[in-house]
Symmetry: C2
Amino acid sequence: MKQTYSILLTLSFALGFSTTVFSQVKDPLPSWNKGKVKQSIIHFVEEVTKKGGANYVPPSERIATFDNDGTLWVEYPMYTQALFAFDRVKKLAPQHPEWKTEQPFKALLEGDMKTVGASGMEGIMKIVLATHSGMTDTEFAEEAGRWLQTTKQSRFKRPYIELIYQPQLELLEYLRANEFKTFIVSGGGIAFMRPMTEKAYGIPPEQVIGSSVVSEFKMKDGKLELVRMPKINFIDDKAGKPVGIYQHIGRRPILAFGNSDSDTQMIQYTMAGKGLRLGLFVHHTDAKREYAYDRKSHVGTLNTVLDTADKNNWIIVDMKNDWNVIFPFEMK
Amino acid sequence: MKQTYSILLTLSFALGFSTTVFSQVKDPLPSWNKGKVKQSIIHFVEEVTKKGGANYVPPSERIATFDNDGTLWVEYPMYTQALFAFDRVKKLAPQHPEWKTEQPFKALLEGDMKTVGASGMEGIMKIVLATHSGMTDTEFAEEAGRWLQTTKQSRFKRPYIELIYQPQLELLEYLRANEFKTFIVSGGGIAFMRPMTEKAYGIPPEQVIGSSVVSEFKMKDGKLELVRMPKINFIDDKAGKPVGIYQHIGRRPILAFGNSDSDTQMIQYTMAGKGLRLGLFVHHTDAKREYAYDRKSHVGTLNTVLDTADKNNWIIVDMKNDWNVIFPFEMK
């Protein structure tokens, strides 16, 4: 296969073909409005791919990392994985009679979301661990995959897997066409995201980094299986993001894209490398087409970043002004 | 780029080219002797790549995992990383006067390897943690990379990076030419291996899985850095191997290759998936060209596997009989 490629590539160059032919013909980012932001992205990609240029980066080092919730898909009014966990509690309730009296399960089953919220991080962790463990790797992937493709979001009445941002799909594709390797680096569960990332974003499971529970390889129902345990293994958020990148990729990204203060450390780690770097944040400013939230939001808080972006050369992407399409289904 | 590829590929098929043309012309595994083992490998690859065949596996699921020590490179008479750690103790000794009296550092500095060995797992861990932490990600990668390329192995008088197995290089290349993604899954340190895997095996750092220390993103010498801490994060050995594969790749391999009882669980996890699978072990039987060791060896113990391979359909690769070349430098 490789031989076929290289023979044909040699042939193509001999015939005068070149990739620039294609990029000049067609706008690689049609859903991005003309302006400073779009220009910065294209300039960056052109610079790092310019052979012999001062900012050239070899393909193997073209690592781009993207947060997921609020950066690649909708996270408002509640993180998708939390909604999945809530649905799982309802589904598993018949097997857990103790939940009728135990908080925060009791409140959740009674629809008392105020009490669930008041149970804080500790309560949410209880729910996540109870609903994300006890099954094998395969069982969990099937469960999450089915839920993501069939459960509809409250406002848009579409399955969650369709609530992904068209401009970001174009950016991912543009980067890959320029020999970048694209990764997700999310606070969300690695095993929750993997059943949808290849279909939704063209990102294979091995390029997804996220939070995880402990897994053990042991006998279950008479078979050796990978079993998910009710114990946190790793939280891939805030300062955990550079750590997750180091453990998983082993290279520093040259481009990173987030949307909240929790992505700050990933962007800092990226920008602190030598040579040209690009750090970006989505700012949710479009209540009409998606949602508008930032400094005081209970999800995806974007506060300190807004105050410090300029002096750090971080780029703020204004959803309302920079994106002319939000979702792929708008284009049909 | 992608567009160029697909246009040219379409063209190539129209012209009657095909990848089989190449594979029929040339033996993809010239350093493997003819016989049952080689035949099993080629049969397996042909089956899983045969479109429309009963055993066809789509390219995205063609995951192959390889142990490192004793499977891809020499591990005898001592794991390379242990030798690196010993060298680091000697180098760092002037900054650690306490090592003059503290075991097992004292014994190591005095060349008393018997006492070092007698300190057991606990002693070795002390040495590894003391020599693999305290520096940034970048500093450690530079240190390990330099050592691997310059330190010579005792018997072969060659840098460790050259003591890799030619037949395995051919197998890795053959698999990748058939659209497999090749990974290393080793009990060795992930950060120790990464500086050499791309150069030695064509395996990029993001496809290396191994043991790790805890890392923290924090201020060091006035800069935000990823700092390696003196604490174990994960041991990627025995039952840890399927766990490492799950966390890192998120897909079950269809081919796995090891050389010791510690690789058993990786092979079991691989073979337990649906469809055609291949599980292999290198058996070090060649004292003349490399080393001969198995059941009672202090490194790379291969014992239970030898007794249970047949009934599990695991393939034992006999180094002496199955490989006609051991190292790349023999071919020059």
